[in-house]
């Protein structure tokens, strides 16, 4: 069961690199939240009940419901829909994504030992690299935010790769991180965006003191 969920999670990462619309980004982030919730429920049964409840409910509420809802609200408010107009950036992103997948799998097979769960380690590494690829290749700030969320999800999965005690601590940190970043993005677009019109990172270079 966990393997099918993990595979589905990796498929969402592949589709993140080729999708062109921010609505799809937000939907995929929501789907990843649901997958992580299911994985957390199945995987963390060894920890005590209050911690399990905290981790799973926090994952469900924030990663699967609140963050996607905030992202959709930002999309509705700002009317930013497309990542870019040409199809070539998707091809390059996918190419890099495949390289990242191969690198993650090779590294996992090479370095993981008996204390580290190979599947979670490999998928977490791939998620981290996918987030970085999104941030590096896309110019719009919204994409950077998505890349950051993907990295956070990767860190959450990574915490599962090294034992069942870590997710509780890491989730508290991630919880603050995600909420702050999405709120900052919302404030940026809804309050500052009217004056600055800076949804593209490259336009921020024009800002002067």
């Amino acid at each position: 069961m966990i393997l099918s969920l993990v595979l589905l999670y990796v498929v969402t990462l592949v589709y993140l690199s080729i999708t062109e619309r921010f609505r799809n980004y937000a939907s995929i982030i929501g789907l990843q939240g649901w997958i992580l919730f299911a994985v957390a429920l199945l995987r963390l049964q060894a920890i005590n009940l209050p911690e399990l409840l905290f981790v799973s409910i926090e994952t469900l509420v924030f990663k699967a419901i609140i963050v996607p809802a905030l992202l959709f609200a930002v999309i509705r408010k700002t009317h930013i829909n497309r990542v870019s107009t040409s199809g070539s950036s998707q091809f390059n992103a996918l190419l890099l994504s495949i390289v990242a997948l191969i690198a993650s799998a090779s590294l996992t097979a090479a370095v993981a030992d008996s204390t580290v769960d190979k599947v979670f380690f490999g998928v977490a590494l791939y998620a981290l690299l996918s987030g970085l690829i999104l941030i590096v290749l896309r110019t719009r700030i919204f994409s950077h935010m998505i890349g950051f969320l993907v990295i956070e999800n990767g860190v959450f999965l990574f915490s599962m790769a090294v034992g069942v005690e870590m997710p509780f601590l890491i989730n508290i940190a991630i919880l603050l991180d995600i909420i702050c970043s999405v709120l900052m993005l919302s404030v940026f677009f809804t309050k500052i965006g009217h004056t600055l019109h800076a949804d593209d990172a490259s336009s921020l270079t024009n800002i002067k003191d």
Binding site: V6, L7, L94, I98, L101, A105, D117, G122
Partner: protein, 304 residues
């Protein structure tokens, strides 16, 4: 006897798949549709016609249809139908199968360029690009089968696949999806290519065959059916391993799965813009790589 039955079944599947596609498309459009075997009548008509060759073409152009048909037929004979033995089989035939398909494509590309036509050169260039992109996906898919079952022959792979655990079943179902998508690309179907298009600028596979007619055109069409059937049978075998691996299930599954899938996609989806095709095919490679590495990690006894 079983080998003969295997060969007959796979040939019947090759002839039936285009009929199922046509019938599915017609039903979904609310039409009665053409006869189930209309494509066979069309090819019979082509076989009766004489061939005309352009004066600019060489012997390469004339030999290509026969080579293309020969490679497709030879590739088809390596594929088992469920638990039956194929006509041809040896250790490493998985790689040989891919090379046979690649040789057929290579010859068709050369023949298209031999005509000196700008349109055919354009089609050859597109076919080469898509072929280069889809071959890694196919190699990853077949390598996954070889990795999971420890053999490099189709016959051995599918015979060894008697006992499966849940993890292998999940990997094989995802692999079936990838193989089915590869069928779309290799047979030049929507959303990658549209065999019914009449505009040369948007053609991919069809534009390479514009200078062919008569018997040559008939051979190219039949070779396309054989290629589709070979890949469809691999996909059906992979799907059937997970539940009930018998020839009486695999043969109809290959016809229905591919025929219905292609028919439904052609009825419900538009063709991709050409610039999107590369991304579409590369996505298949990514999924195939994912399946391969999951299989690889499964082989190293991970504990989930």
């Amino acid at each position: 006897m079983m080998i003969l039955l295997n060969t007959l079944l796979i040939l019947c599947a090759a002839l039936a798949i285009p009929g199922v596609i046509n019938r599915t498309r017609a039903r979904l459009a609310g039409r009665k549709g053409i006869r189930f075997v209309q494509h066979l009548y069309d090819v019979r008509l082509l076989m009766r016609k004489d061939t005309v060759y352009s004066s600019t073409t060489s012997v390469l152009f004339r030999a290509t249809p026969a080579i293309y048909l020969g490679t497709a037929l030879l590739a088809l004979l390596f594929i088992p139908v469920g638990d039956l033995d194929p006509l041809l089989s040896f250790e490493g035939d998985v790689i040989y199968f891919v090379y046979l398909l690649a040789l057929g494509r290579f010859m068709l590309i050369l023949a298209a360029m031999d005509t000196g036509s700008a349109f055919e050169g354009m089609g050859a260039s597109r076919e080469a690009l898509y072929g280069a992109l889809v071959e890694p996906a196919m190699m990853f898919a077949l390598a996954t089968l070889a990795l999971l079952f420890g053999y490099t022959s189709f016959r051995e792979i599918f015979l060894a696949a008697a006992t499966l655990n849940l993890h292998q079943t999940i990997v094989l179902l995802l692999l079936t999806y990838v193989l089915l998508k590869i069928v779309f690309v290799e047979s030049g179907r929507v959303p990658v290519d549209d065999p019914r298009t009449h505009l040369e600028l948007t053609m991919i596979h069809e534009v390479m065959c514009l200078d062919y007619c008569g018997v040559d055109m008939g051979m190219i069409k039949v070779a396309g059916w054989f290629k589709t059937a070979a890949l469809a049978m691999i996909a059906a075998n992979t799907a059937a391993i997970t539940c009930c691996f018998h020839w009486w299930l695999v043969a109809p599954l290959a016809v229905l799965l591919t025929g219905a899938a292609v028919g439904i996609v052609e009825s419900t989806q538009a063709r991709n813009k050409l610039s999107r095709n590369t991304t579409f095919i590369l996505t298949l490679t990514a999924l195939a790589a994912l399946v391969f590495f999951t299989g690889f990690l499964l082989q190293s006894n991970i504990n989930i």
